[in-house]
Symmetry: C2
Subunit: 244 residues, 2 copies
């Protein structure tokens, strides 16, 4: 049974107040680095896996995408996305990424922000995405970095007056239950190797691996981001569907 | 100026007594997993970058390699490797990986065990290896895992009675000075992303990324290896030189 934490009132209320929910893509410090990995979208067909309030879908259309299919498991999010959008080129639908079924050879770009770490069977998801992409289609996604997600107690500790991330059980993959916005949020920890090898085995070429870090201007504007240099919070992968 | 710590008497004496130095490949717990990534070597030409006492070079010949060029910066190691080997198919040479110059299109496999993290300019090294490999030639190498190498104080701490690795300055790449076998050993920390992107940019396809972990039989034989599940110590990458 898939957990749909997003539609629990406490989680949804908290999520709605995140800077990235209120301000959209510009509220996410990793967005400029991800944007640099997105190909020219003019005339392209895009699928957004875990679209939330639809910020990326609308950006993709402004960037020239012909059509965007925007999927999310949360009824609340899809309702809000539809309400915020007046664009027949975006098709918002409720869909569970655990049971994803995309049309074959349809998309030029599959995009996903911070959703795949909620998915237990990543291999199955990757196979679905591969089939949905056209040959040479691209996949760009972010997840919580496995260093961030691995620990039994994921929170800063102080070591010799330095913020330090207490890594343990990194090589023990599987479920992590977190209290974030609500209690009992289930995520799935996979190592970087496992994530990349799943893609490679299923016919993707790895094009770029980004362990996101703030740039100088971001740290100047928001000094608290310095802490992000101590351990990576977000992993971004760009991969290409090989022709075969 | 390149540091050649291996020929400092204190380091060499300590290194010579490591299990992997005395027993060879079978003294390295990661070896079985690496061996599985090595292609069939029958009739193949191999270069070993950082060959140490020559254990891999001799194994490669037993596995059918036609010739092995085995390079190391350490005069002591090359002297000992030559002394231990009676095989005209292995050519041991003193060479600094920082100033590597391989013949073009010569090798089917480039192999390296735990040497590249001593190299400051990884891009330059990768470019040299690429040129030395034949098209579709393979590169298999291990390095200290960046999680292992990143911290200011890389050593276990106890957190709620669990061995924990205190990760900090992970996204601050560059020199790390360690006291291991001798004082002041210089290593270079790079993130996984940086390492993989260097390879991709220079014409390699990533084939496999292995964050080494002990298997059950190893833990049964040597229970202390359980700790290795808490954080990865060794990263292994297999990459293919693309034809272009």
């Amino acid at each position: 049974m898939t957990q749909n934490i997003y539609d629990e009132p406490e989680f949804f209320a908290g999520y709605s107040q995140l800077e990235r929910s209120e301000r959209g893509l510009d509220g996410a410090p990793e967005w400029p680095a991800i944007r640099d990995l997105i190909p020219d979208l003019s005339g392209k067909v895009v699928v957004d896996l875990g679209c939330g309030f639809g910020w990326f879908a609308r950006w993709a259309r402004e960037a020239g995408a012909a059509r965007v299919l925007a999927l999310d498991v949360s009824e609340n999010m899809i309702a809000r996305a539809r309400q915020d959008t007046h664009d027949p080129g975006i098709d918002y639908r409720i869909a569970d990424l655990n049971r994803l079924s995309l049309p074959d050879d349809e998309f030029d770009l599959a995009y996903s922000s911070l959703a795949f770490h909620y998915i237990e069977d990543f291999d199955h998801l990757v196979e679905n995405i591969r089939r949905g992409l056209r040959p040479n289609g691209q996949l760009v996604f972010s997840i919580e970095h496995p260093i961030y997600m691995a620990p039994e107690a994921p929170g800063w500790i102080d070591l010799n007056s330095r913020k330090t991330w207490p890594v343990n059980q990194y090589l023990v993959e599987g479920q992590r239950v977190m209290n974030w916005l609500a209690d009992g949020v289930i995520k799935y920890h996979r190592t970087i190797g496992t994530t990349l090898n799943s893609l490679i085995r299923r016919g993707f070429a790895i094009d770029h691996v980004l362990e996101w870090r703030p740039v100088e201007t971001q740290i100047r504007d928001k000094p608290a981001l310095t802490d992000e240099m101590e351990r990576p919070m977000i992993l971004v992968v760009k991969a290409l569907r090989l022709v075969r």
